[in-house]
């Protein structure tokens, strides 16, 4: 809707090529002339398909531009091309008699040479952002409410996936903006494996050994874990640690908001836990996806697709019950042994969904509410199933995370096969040359081939990952090496000189295999 400013510039331009001695052609004649010219240019533009008028004027005007001294209020020459290093301001325009450095008119578009961002400046900007965010956290987050120490209780034991899970929990705890005390209870006693992983955390760690070994079934494992957690709570009681106790099972996933939310707990709180009861069997997953789609088409899906375990509230945000995982669809199909390829189901009420004030566990009943049982008198043999057994009155639990509406952590149980092997500390030392096949591999034991044909078979195995040929004399070596007790992939010097390349390929293909299994 704004009139084009260039109309006026055209007007001025039209005047200048005309004889300047003609002082003031009557305005109406000029207006009519301009109108006719404009219509003509529009018609030509329609025919040609581009803006003819400006092109004409560009050619007309750009050549005698130096003689264009017709001034007020701006210089009527056309702009220089866009990529311009220096401004070409309109020189003559003055807004007022007092000096104003701001002039009206066409200005060049300034472009800096090499406009790509300077990495030093990008770093400075990131530091600024980080400083601002730190200030925000100090004002709105931790500092505002007073930060309490987070006491994380993790039962663990040495197995293939321990490094995977424990590193995840460790990094979550390292990111927590509050003080953290990490109590790691290890089944089977304190081991170097766990200690080396946990030692890298940088937070205060209390590494406690537990005498029992972790059993092989999920049910028993759950029971032992409960005992381990109680052991950790006893540590809290004895050391009189002050803060909020949360249960960080090593295969769970915690969001950072979880740690912010649990700062709000007064005595005993509950959060919603997302349950990922996943079987690890790809076909079953696909089938269940199809089934779920059918279900959704049949009935209106008022259920969320992720099962959640946590507090249930009524409309006034008071705790009235618990959402529990529905185990019916999985009846009979759930995993029993740790390495079963089936869905792993959670307990009725998982410990990880509860947080408590560590003062509940202390001896002196200073300000402890009456609905809390005395922890020191708890009898573990009576079968403590969930943290609610620590309370006399379970209805006093505080629901956190806007009354359970926010899922702040996810429960997952994934374990490798019981007989899977991994190098201690995940360090392969000395480097591998040949591998020892794991037991119960699906590939058949093929009789050895003469050496000349071996290379062809190796190249075959490159393409087809599922078949790895192991020559017989290596199998004999395996039998010899099986005497070695350490669960490490042994490398053995082989006499055949053609071997190194072949073993390298064999190593790569078999390691690929092991990774698939584990």
């Amino acid at each position: 809707m704004k009139l084009s400013a260039l109309h006026q510039s055209y007007l001025n331009r039209r005047r200048s090529p005309l004889d300047s001695s003609v002082d003031a052609p009557s305005k109406s004649f000029l207006a009519v002339f301009w109108l006719v010219l404009h219509c003509l240019c529009c018609l030509i533009s329609l025919l040609l398909g581009f803006r003819f008028s400006r092109l004409v004027f560009f050619f007309l005007v750009s050549t005698p531009s130096s003689s264009n001294l017709y001034s007020p209020p701006f210089r009527p020459d056309l702009p220089p091309p866009r990529i311009d290093l220096t401004p070409s301001n309109a020189t003559t325009a003055e807004a007022k008699t007092s000096s104003s450095r701001v002039v009206v008119g066409r200005h060049g578009i300034l472009i800096r040479p090499w406009p790509h961002p300077d990495p030093v400046e990008v770093m400075k900007a990131h530091r600024i952002i980080e400083r601002v965010q730190r200030e925000q956290k100090a004002v709105f987050g931790a500092g505002a409410k007073g930060s309490r120490t987070v006491i994380a209780v993790t039962p663990t034991y040495v197995r293939t996936f321990q490094a995977l899970h424990l590193n995840g929990v460790m990094h979550s705890l390292m990111l927590v903006p509050y003080d953290v005390v990490w109590i790691v209870v290890e089944a089977g006693g304190v081991s170097n494996e766990t200690a080396s992983i946990v030692g890298k955390s940088g937070v205060r760690v209390i590494h406690v050994g537990f005498d029992q070994r972790m059993p092989n079934t999920w049910e028993d494992r759950g029971k032992v874990e409960v005992l381990m957690r109680l052991r950790a709570l006893r540590v809290v009681k004895e050391e009189k640690l002050d803060g909020v106790v949360m249960f960080a099972d090593d295969s769970n996933m915690h969001s950072m908001e979880f740690f912010d939310e649990i700062q709000n707990v007064k005595w005993f709180g509950a959060v919603s836990v997302g349950i990922l009861a996943h079987s690890g069997n790809a076909e079953e997953m696909v089938m269940s996806m199809d089934k779920r789609r059918e279900m959704e088409e049949e009935e209106s899906s008022s259920l969320s697709s992720l099962p959640v375990q946590g507090p249930a509230c009524n409309a006034t945000d008071k705790l009235i019950g618990w959402h529990v995982f529905n185990t019916l669809p999985y009846a009979g199909k759930s995993a029993v042994y740790i390495d079963d390829v089936a869905a792993v189901l959670p307990q009725k009420l998982e410990w990880c969904g509860f947080v408590l004030n560590s003062r509940i566990l202390w001896d002196e009943a200073e300000s402890k509410p009456e609905w809390v049982k005395e922890f020191g008198l708890l009898n573990e043999n009576e079968g403590v199933e969930s943290p609610l057994s620590l309370l006399n009155d379970p209805s006093m639990v505080e629901p956190l995370g806007s009354c359970g509406r926010q899922v702040l952590l996810w429960w997952l149980r994934v374990e490798a096969r019981a007989d899977s092997k991994f190098p201690p500390g995940w360090v392969i030392d000395p480097p591998l040359e040949i591998t020892v096949a794991a037991k119960r591999t699906p590939w058949p034991d093929v009789p050895p081939e003469p050496p000349t044909k071996k290379k062809d078979q190796m190249s075959l195995s490159q393409g087809n990952n599922n078949v790895v040929v192991i020559p017989k004399h290596q199998q004999q070596q395996q039998q010899r090496s099986s005497k070695v007790r350490k669960p490490k992939r042994r490398s053995k010097r082989n006499k055949h000189e053609a071997k190194p390349t072949d073993t390298a390929t064999q190593v790569s293909s078999s390691t690929k295999h092991h990774q698939e299994r584990n």
């Binding site: 400013a5 007092s98 578009i109 300034l110 472009i111 505002a144």
Partner: protein, 417 residues
């Protein structure tokens, strides 16, 4: 009894000490700093009792009927003139006795003639204003007494009382001759410009307060965008080649920083515009066809440090708010070096600016809430008017003295409205 009195005295002393602490920390909100501009610590002043305003009763064709014709005038950025009248009609500073009034207000809506797109056309505004002034000059003696020097008008259009949207034409017309002595309350402000009169009060453009309040996000959401801007860089309709619109500054921003990951700039207008501003540290407020824009108000409300790219601009309530301490001013010629400038600001300075922006009186001063609240833009205007009191002797003309030229200006303006 004696103990109690000592306790009371002790408490009173504590209260006094706490009230004199300059940077105060509220329990659950951001620490803020007091704002004091060149006129002093005046943002919280209460104008009631310091001045009296008389509101002329103009026929409704100057205000109500215009608004009825187009109710969009209530929500666009020029709505300040309408809300100012509504506020004054019910304010305690209003007086019904013109003899005791210090200031006179003329409620005429000059910015309410809208195109189908919603932009105001200023072509009839000079005539409307002139007709209104002729009306009050003939019906009341107060105009002729001072030739308008104790009257104030709200002219929130692009170039204020120059009544044109194009800068060259506006400069060519200059301020309406009849308003030469009146005080103008306008959004436009640029130093050494024809359209900014000495003694004018610059106000922020109208931004809908409820809409902005409804888009607030929790303060702990981390600010992760470094620089944010949404708007046009090239006005293809009116200035296709570029270089005219915004004096080439917006185009320079685009050409230099469109690939820079620290700059979140684009022409798309997302639905999360307000939320994104609250997640940004710097918000660009470059000039457009006129140097002012509602972006400044939005940046202040959402706590994003405004980066003002407009040479010689005069910001709202410049004597009450120390804009140099709050925003970042970048010359238009320095736009290609914007990233260098912004990253070289020390973090302490940035945190201080954010504290100043968090001051609730700062945010209040930028808004026109309905109903009016203490410390808002209406009150700041009245404070500004109160600071100009008492009137100078020269305001009152000697009998028979005439300073205004009633026939000046383009011939088309002299036609009756």
């Amino acid at each position: 009894m004696k103990l109690r009195s000592w306790v009371l005295i002790f408490l009173a002393c504590n209260l006094l000490t706490f009230s004199t602490i300059s940077a105060f920390r509220l329990s659950r909100s951001q620490p803020t700093e007091r704002i004091s501009g060149s006129a002093g610590d005046v943002l919280d002043d209460n104008p009631v009792g310091r001045l009296k305003v008389f509101v002329y009763e103009l026929p409704s064709k100057y205000n109500k009927k215009i608004l009825q014709k187009d109710p969009r005038c209530l929500t666009h950025m020029f709505a300040a003139e309408i809300y100012m009248q509504r506020f004054l009609l019910s304010s305690p500073v209003r007086t019904l006795n013109p003899e005791e009034a210090d200031w006179f207000y003329v409620p005429v809506y000059t910015t309410c003639d809208l195109t189908p797109n919603g932009l105001p056309l200023p072509f009839k505004s000079p005539r409307m204003m002139r007709s209104a002034i002729q009306l009050i000059a003939s019906n009341w003696p107060y105009w002729n007494r001072t030739e308008g020097a104790d009257h104030f008008f709200v002219v929130p259009h692009d170039f204020g009382a120059c009544f044109h949207y194009q800068e060259e034409k506006a400069i060519g017309r200059g301020i309406l001759p009849l308003l030469q002595r009146a005080t103008l309350v306008q959004t436009f402000g640029q130093r050494n410009h024809v359209c900014l009169k000495e003694g004018s009060i610059t106000v922020p453009p109208y931004a809908p307060p409820q809409k902005m309040q409804s888009h607030l996000i929790p303060g702990k959401t981390p600010r992760s965008i470094f620089v944010y801007f949404r708007g046009l860089f090239y006005d293809v309709g009116n200035d296709p080649e570029g270089g005219y619109y915004a004096r080439g500054a917006r185009a320079a921003v685009w050409e230099n920083f469109k690939d820079n990951p620290l700059f979140d700039i684009s022409t798309e207008h997302p639905t999360t515009y307000y939320e994104d501003m609250q997640r940004a540290i710097f918000c660009l407020c470059p000039l457009g066809w006129a140097p002012w824009s509602p972006r400044l108000v939005e940046a202040v409300i959402f706590g994003c440090i405004p980066v003002i790219i407009a040479d010689d601009i005069v910001l709202p309530f410049a004597d009450a708010i120390p804009w140099e301490d709050i925003g970042v001013f970048v010359d238009e010629k320095d736009v290609p070096y914007l990233d260098t400038i912004l990253t070289s600001i020390p973090p302490e300075v940035i945190l201080r600016k954010q504290r100043l922006l968090a001051n609730p009186s700062m945010k209040q001063a930028m808004l026109f809430p309905q109903p009016a609240q203490p410390g808002d833009a209406f009150h700041q205007v009245l404070n500004g008017l109160a600071r100009k009191l008492p009137h100078d002797r020269s305001v009152y003309l000697r009998p028979g003295e005439k300073l205004l030229n009633w026939t000046a200006g383009p011939v088309a303006d002299l036609k009756p409205w």
